[in-house]
Amino acid sequence: MPKKPIKLPENIEYLSILDENAKVDKELEPKLSADDLKTMYRYMVLARRGDERMLNLQRQGRIGTFPQSSGHEAVSMGSVYALEKSDWHVPAYREFAGMLYRGWPLETMFLYWGGFEEGAVPPEGVNDLPICVPVGSQLLHAAGIGMAMRFKEEKKVVLTYFGDGSSSEGDFHEALNFASVFNAPVVFVCQNNQYAISVPLARQMKCETIAQRAVSYGMPGVKVDGNDVLAMYAATAAAVERARAGGGPTLIEGLTYRMTPHTTSDDPKRYRSEEEMKQWANKDSLIRFARYLEDKGVLDGDARKKLHEEIDEEIKAAVKRFEEQAQSEELLNPLRMFDYLYADTPPDLDEQREELKRFLAKKGKLPASEAGKEQAHTGRERG
């Protein structure tokens, strides 16, 4: 066999179930109950409206720069819905829908983008890692969690996310390789919105799909219509089931589009055409899914309207809780910065805490809860 093609694996596929016109492929349609479908829809809308509300908060200066998530609801929600509560969820930063579904309160998300570490605290009992900003690095944490599950012989799964651009980072490669070598139960989901900020896919990579990168790791790869929440669910459910049964990791690429700027300080007109944006607006997963629910008799127009109103109330209440917390002396106490770095704060850090405390006291800015606890001396000696 002096010269011959190398046979490549045949497990790289494309999947779509609910098309742009809300036409469903009956054979592939996943078996989800009306409750399931309503739940999925609910969190997608919560994320969309929450995103819009956050933009508003950001414009008012009440939170900081943040990456919007509108357009990414189906990739996130379709995939996360395949998890059990005891499974793990390791998001990047556009999995707003999925995080809400997993149990992150809205106000916690506001706190994160509002500049409070408290927004990165996973709620008790929620097996999630917080938002991850340094791109691609979280994939290794997910791989490690999966490895630990495997070493402990537990039947759990980890689901993790990354962007198309992030797949250029070395950590992407290392994570998929580790997961495959150790046969770890990890599902890697790409939010392929076709841009890394301003750089279009064709200038990030020369291969046709991200899914085919699975060939490097001997794992299955699936490219999915990422605005089709049913296909995202079906692909992920299959991957989760395989992982749980010991079949190892899968790479899923959800093709979608960011309906907003990259973050609130981005100007997408510099690199995307109006036409392209419009085209993709027509493919909105929410519209498509709403029509499907209506056609199926799960949620009619009135019920949908009512749901939207409920959601708006929910957001309103969350904003209020956020404001309270964001203005609370506790969360604003700068001395908190020293209190969580180590399980036991070492003496030199304590000394720095005292240093700042004395300074705040001098300036009359010491939070009341800290007052009366000052140490008398400086720890320094005049000899």
């Binding site: 500049g115 990165a120 938002i131 250029s168 301003s198 990030q204 908190r336 910065m337 850090l349 300036k363």
Partner: protein
């Protein structure tokens, strides 16, 4: 002469360098069509095309590693890392290669490149977007490190960095990108790398700093003069490596007291090195321990609390008074 802010001055230097030296290329994430997330590369792609102004894939080790290759091949890459908090991804390329090629090849293979790192807090940025860790590179032999403090020296130092035959880390104090304007001359200026500047004269205490913190130091010096009648001398390091020990110790020999200021964490920070050099060179002139006003040894807090972390004029003033009354 034209008035401009630092962002514009850096942009101007890049433009001029691309224009006068065809070996110069500018690369990084979103530096092309987007003109950089801080718009520092505004107009460059349009003028110089995508062979000289290069949008890279999202991979910092890739950016630095390929820049090393380009520099070796005779180009003069100016690589932007979008935020200093992501330069860590390229650390092995910087430590093991950029800093070493000249030394290990006894001068035959050299790496004339510039790494632009927008650094520092104070702009209400997201997590990991407010880093200040100059020490990592100061402790890495073979690099030079400069930090401008205003539009004019920003442009001049960037020209110096690009013309330098060795790899230079160019820290951009992004908090003051657009904070104030200065006259910048029309003809190209450089500043010698490794030279500090006495930017305010005084005889009673020496304040040493660089980058964005320098503004706070100058403010503190004003307050000290107004409120206490004490004249502080202020040294703007401009270069972290090589450090201009002479300018520092000349000043401290005169004043006998010093406060060193930076926003990076304290432990093994640049201030520790300054203290050690003062101790070694002018020990007997010291009237009080050299004070450090720095970031604390915790990650810079998310933005709701970052102000308390960053040295401001008040904290510096407080340290000056303690040092003066020692």
């Amino acid at each position: 002469m034209a008035e401009m802010n630092m962002a514009k001055a850096i942009n101007k230097a890049l433009y001029e360098a691309l224009e006068r030296d065809e070996r110069v290329v500018v690369l990084g994430e979103d530096v092309g069509a987007d003109e950089g997330v801080f718009r520092i590369t505004e107009g460059l792609l349009a003028k110089f095309g995508d062979k000289r102004v290069i949008d890279t894939p999202l991979a910092e080790s890739g950016i630095i590693g390929t820049s090393i290759g380009m520099a070796i091949y005779g180009l003069r890459p100016v690589a932007e890392i979008q935020f200093a908090g992501f330069d860590y991804y390229a650390f092995h390329q910087i430590e093991s290669h950029a800093s070493r090629f000249r030394n290990r090849t006894r001068g035959r293979v050299t790496v004339p490149m510039v790494m632009r790192f927008p650094y520092g807090g104070g702009i209400r940025a997201l997590e990991h977007h407010s880093e200040s860790r100059e020490t990592y590179y100061a402790h890495t032999p073979g690099l030079k490190i400069v930090v401008p403090s205003g539009p004019r020296n920003a442009r001049a130092l960037l020209h110096s960095a690009i013309q330098d035959p060795d790899p230079v880390v160019y820290y951009e104090p992004k908090a003051i990108y657009r904070a104030f304007k200065e006259e910048v001359p029309d003809t190209i200026e450089t500043l010698p790398i490794g030279r500090a500047q006495v930017v305010r004269e005084g005889r009673e205490i020496t304040l040493i700093s660089y980058g964005a913190s320098l503004r706070q130091v100058l403010e503190a010096a004003e307050m000290l003069e107004e409120e206490d009648g004490v004249k502080a001398e202020v040294v703007d390091l401009l270069s972290i490596v090589p450090m201009d020990t002479k300018t520092i110790v000349d000043s401290v020999r005169k004043t006998g007291r010093a406060v060193v200021v930076h926003e990076a964490p304290r432990n093994c920070g640049i201030a520790a090195e300054v203290v050690a050099r003062i101790n070694e060179h002018v020990f007997l002139y010291l009237e009080a321990p050299v004070a450090r006003v720095t970031g604390y040894d915790v990650p810079i807090p998310y933005f709701s609390k970052e102000k308390a972390y960053l040295p401001d004029a008040d904290r510096i003033l407080d340290a000056c008074r303690q040092t003066l009354s020692f």
